[in-house]
């Protein structure tokens, strides 16, 4: 059975990665920055699964790394949502340009 070449999958995941990078640097809202981080983590997951499937099909290491990345992403999102809600309660905004109390 013919397969999709591995390089196409890598180009898909790097496109997703750099979309996330663009969003992370150009957005000013904390929640949209968090969404960009999710895109980056997902592109890494696609890479791990593709390498495991194409190059090392006799092992399962890529699947384990993907599972651990998903768990770490869940922990990260819960903590950052808590921080965002706390920040909103204090400053009434979650725009990173306006929360400058601890700057300098």
């Amino acid at each position: 059975m013919e397969q999709v070449p591995l390089s196409h999958i890598l180009i898909l995941s790097s496109t997703l990665f750099f979309l996330g990078v663009y969003g992370f640097f150009s957005r000013r809202n904390l929640i949209t920055m968090l969404m960009s981080v999710e895109l980056i983590l997902n592109s890494v997951n696609i890479n791990f699964i593709a390498f495991n499937k194409y190059l090392f099909p006799h092992q399962l290491e890529g699947i384990f790394f993907t599972m651990f990345i998903i768990v770490v992403a869940a922990a990260e999102v819960s903590i950052s949502i808590a921080i965002i809600i706390n920040l909103y309660r204090r400053f009434k905004t979650i725009d990173i340009e306006d929360t400058t109390t601890m700057k300098y």
């Binding site: 196409h8 790097s14 750099f18 640097f25 960009s36 006799h58 384990f64 599972m67 998903i70 808590a82």
Partner: protein, 174 residues
């Protein structure tokens, strides 16, 4: 081209399109819904590759947990119908140049490199049975120690989220 190849390219296009909508949309709620659709199509790619367990995890944790949490926090912190302020042009330009340069470089490296699969190996079925056995084995290549470490991490994240987000009412009374 076989059917699975065509389905892969369709799913990949949808993932990239909705990822771009997540990044470029000025309405935050639309961005969250695009993120949800993008993650769902990534789960579709996993199902196409026969890694069912990871696809199920993707749907349960990302789509069912993380995106719902993000939507809740949008409801808590935004007024509906308001679009986000525009980013500064310099910042936009800088991050655009960074992203395009990085993507071009990565594409160039990937297209130059020849990937060689491990020769003469018997593929392992990525079933829940095999994953579970290796996950909880404490012989070589077992993952029981990272499993326990991730348990501690999740417990710490749970306690930390509650501690950070709790309202300190006694502080304001003093």
């Amino acid at each position: 081209m076989s059917a699975s190849t065509i389905i892969f390219y369709i799913l990949a296009t949808l993932v990239v399109v909705f990822g771009a909508l997540t990044v470029f949309s000025r309405k935050i709620f639309r961005a969250a819904i695009s993120l949800l659709l993008s993650l769902t199509f990534i789960a579709g790619i996993y199902f196409l590759w026969n890694v069912d367990f990871i696809g199920a995890l993707q749907i349960i944790i990302y789509v069912g947990g993380i995106v719902v949490l993000i939507i809740f926090s949008i409801f808590l912190t935004h007024h509906s119908g308001q679009s986000l302020p525009k980013a500064k042009t310099g910042k936009k330009l800088l991050s655009g140049i960074m992203a395009v340069a990085g993507l071009g470089f990565t594409t160039w490296v990937v297209s130059q490199y020849v990937f060689k699969p491990a020769p003469g190996v018997v593929p392992v079925e990525p079933s829940v049975h095999n994953i579970g056995i290796q996950m909880l084995s404490y012989s070589d290549y077992g993952y029981v120690f990272p499993f326990e470490v991730i348990n501690i991490l999740l417990l710490a994240a749970l306690v930390g989220a509650i501690v950070i987000a709790i309202k300190k009412s006694q502080d304001t009374e003093e």
